[in-house]
């Protein structure tokens, strides 16, 4: 067996070991996998057309035909929740991916080099962080235009400061480590030290951050559409569904809010639990 193959099996065994000792992470990874599958195969999983209204059956409570009831236009809530999974996950993954790539590289170089670049980036991040981030996202969507891609940009921008600061701090504590100086003594340039040594070492910690941020990004995107920004009705989206259901809560029609709310909650929960679990799996120092 080649060295790489040995390493691969030992990684797989390590993942299994962690999952066996940590059922919560196992459930979270299963749940996340299920969510991704639902998002991919959403069109085949919906029992009803998510935007077809059926006024005769409006505001029907959950029953055998409509597992999660129907909304004010008689649309099947379960179908709408399933259809929305794709959109919500897409927004969150794209936004977090964007801010992760930009943040890791910018933060990594700032943390390693310090100096003027670091000071200016630091100042920029300070200004971004001086805004309550949800308010900043609102302002961004307002300025850029009330469209879905702008929701993604806004979510990415408000995530960015965390990644920059995180990568900066993590790289900064390691930049004087013996193995970094050793790499330079072995002939690596600064660029290669950052890209091949520091960032890969920071990655496990950032993976945890990514997982936690995905949950947060979903909450933000849903919050934006809840207040009427970004995704517009009748597109099924969890935030909009809660917003539409809000009008009926004082008359006791709980299912309009509770089920999309539950979908949001479970998604965020899975991502958060996965984040905690990932830390154990990705950190080779935990491997014995």
């Amino acid at each position: 067996m080649s060295a790489a193959a040995i390493q691969r099996t030992s990684t797989a065994r390590h993942v299994l070991f962690i999952l066996r000792g940590n059922p919560v992470t196992a459930i979270a990874s299963l749940g996340t996998a299920l969510l991704v599958l639902i998002a991919i195969f959403a069109p085949f999983l919906t029992p009803y057309d998510p935007i077809a209204s059926d006024v005769a059956h409006a505001l029907a409570p959950p029953d055998a035909a409509h597992w999660a009831g129907t909304d004010q236009l008689g649309r099947d809530i379960f179908s709408r929740i399933v259809a929305a999974a794709r959109l919500d996950l897409f927004i969150a993954v794209t936004a977090v991916g964007l801010s992760f790539v930009v943040g890791a590289v910018v933060g990594g170089f700032c943390g390693y080099r310090g100096g003027r670049l670091d000071r200016w980036v630091g100042r920029f991040v300070d200004v971004l962080m001086a805004f309550p981030l949800f308010v900043l996202a609102m302002a961004l969507v307002a300025a850029l235009g009330n469209r879905m891609e702008n929701i993604i940009i806004a979510t990415a921008v408000i995530n960015l400061p965390f990644y920059i600061r995180f990568a900066r701090a993590e790289v900064n504590v390691r930049r004087n480590a013996g193995w970094v100086e050793a790499a330079r003594a072995c002939g690596d340039s600064h660029l290669s030290v950052v890209l091949r040594f520091l960032l890969p070492n920071v990655l496990p910690a950032m993976a945890v951050q990514i997982s936690l941020n995905l949950g947060w990004a979903i909450l933000n995107a849903a919050g934006l559409s809840f207040i009427g920004l970004g995704v517009q009705a009748p597109t099924p989206e969890w935030g909009i569904m809660v917003a539409e259901g809000a009008r009926f809560i004082t008359t006791g029609k709980w299912w309009l809010v509770a089920f999309p709310g539950l979908a949001l909650m479970l998604t965020v929960l899975f991502f958060n639990l996965l984040g905690d679990g990932l830390r154990d799996i990705l950190d080779p120092r935990m491997r014995t």
Binding site: A130, L133, A139, L264
Partner: protein, 343 residues
């Protein structure tokens, strides 16, 4: 005395050092509203049907035909003199609208923060004192679940349970029942104003009205605060100086409160700043759910009506409040942790 003057110096220095951030905030707000795609003149025109000439005229009036640096300078001057423009929806100067509505938002946010701190710190400490116990597991579960429920969902579910099912809570709209009389306008904070005039039934009415929105906001930030308290308390309890305190035979009370908790609260204080920022954002959602007449719902209505002056003012106001709160936290931190001033 020297302590006080030290604090005063610190406040002053910190305020000065927050000026660049505030300036940055103003510039970013300006960039967002003026430079990015989208013609503000169209927004500020009388309506979507406004003619080309009218728009040109507004462009000229607003100085939008001037170079950007001059526009920025004018904008800075306007902000400095408190001139934030007029709202199209209310027809009033934005500053005036904001002044009237700000106390409602602040009352809500601060009540929520107090509720969250009063619950989370004892919970976090209890969990850290007995790691692995049922209390600890319960707190950790609460922390995990707490951050997963969006404020707007928990708010609506609270309404369903406490207003619709149990009937304990009043109608979840506005700060007071529409038929109740408002207190005389002293501070704008209803709880304070009612208390000052001795109108306790009015105070109770305002309090019950405030409770649900404040709780739904507190629930969302309870988790990060409790989690941080637990983590930092655990870290401090495991630290060398706690072992020292035990090795010289200090009483448990002294070890836990004076030695451990006071040190453990330092990171909690820091995270309170971030939590406060989250709450200012969550304000928008909670005010919408509970039809709370604060600045956030005002800005939101304006935003959806493409009325941009209030939005701009709102963003600026929130950022300013947040910067000031951070100054406050920083000063408190400096008082609590002598290491800061040693450097």
């Amino acid at each position: 005395m020297s302590v006080l003057s030290g604090i005063a110096r610190r406040v002053g220095r910190r305020l000065l050092s927050s000026i660049p951030a505030l300036l940055g905030v103003v510039v970013v707000t300006f960039v967002l509203m003026r430079v990015l795609p989208g013609d503000p003149a169209v927004f500020f025109a009388s309506g979507p049907s406004a003619g080309k000439e009218e728009i040109e005229q507004i462009r000229h009036q607003m100085g939008l035909d001037r170079p950007i640096p001059i526009q920025l300078a004018r904008y800075l001057a306007d902000v400095a003199t408190g001139n934030l423009g007029h709202s199209l929806t209310t027809g009033q100067p934005v500053t005036q609208d904001m002044e009237r509505r700000l106390p409602a938002s602040l009352e809500l946010t601060f009540t929520a923060l107090v509720i969250a701190l009063l619950l989370s710190v004892p919970l976090g400490v209890a969990a850290a004192l007995r790691p692995g116990s049922p209390v600890d597991h319960a707190v950790r579960m609460l922390c995990t679940l707490g951050v997963c429920v969006p404020t707007f969902v928990s708010g609506l579910l609270l309404i369903y349970v406490f207003y619709y099912l149990l009937g304990w809570a009043p109608d979840p709209t506005a700060r007071l029942d529409i038929f109740a009389s408002t207190p005389p306008d002293i501070t704008g904070f209803y709880l304070v104003d009612f208390a000052m005039t001795g109108d306790w039934s009015g105070w109770w009415a305002a309090f019950t009205q405030l409770l649900l929105p404040a709780i739904s906001m507190a629930l969302f930030v309870l988790a990060p605060l409790a989690r941080m308290t637990r983590a930092s308390m655990l870290a401090v309890l495991g630290s060398d100086f706690i072992r020292t305190a035990q090795s010289v035979g200090l009483s448990r009370r002294r070890v836990v409160i004076t030695y451990a908790l006071r040190n453990a609260l330092l990171p909690v204080l820091t995270i309170t700043g971030i939590v406060f920022s989250t709450m200012l954002g969550a304000n928008v959602l909670v005010e919408k759910v509970f039809s709370w007449p604060g600045v956030a719902s005002y800005a939101l209505d304006a935003l959806l009506a493409s009325d941009y002056a209030p939005v701009q003012a709102f963003v600026l106001l929130m950022a300013t409040i947040f910067v000031l709160v951070n100054v406050l936290i920083d000063v408190l931190y400096g008082i609590a942790d002598p290491r800061v001033s040693i450097e």
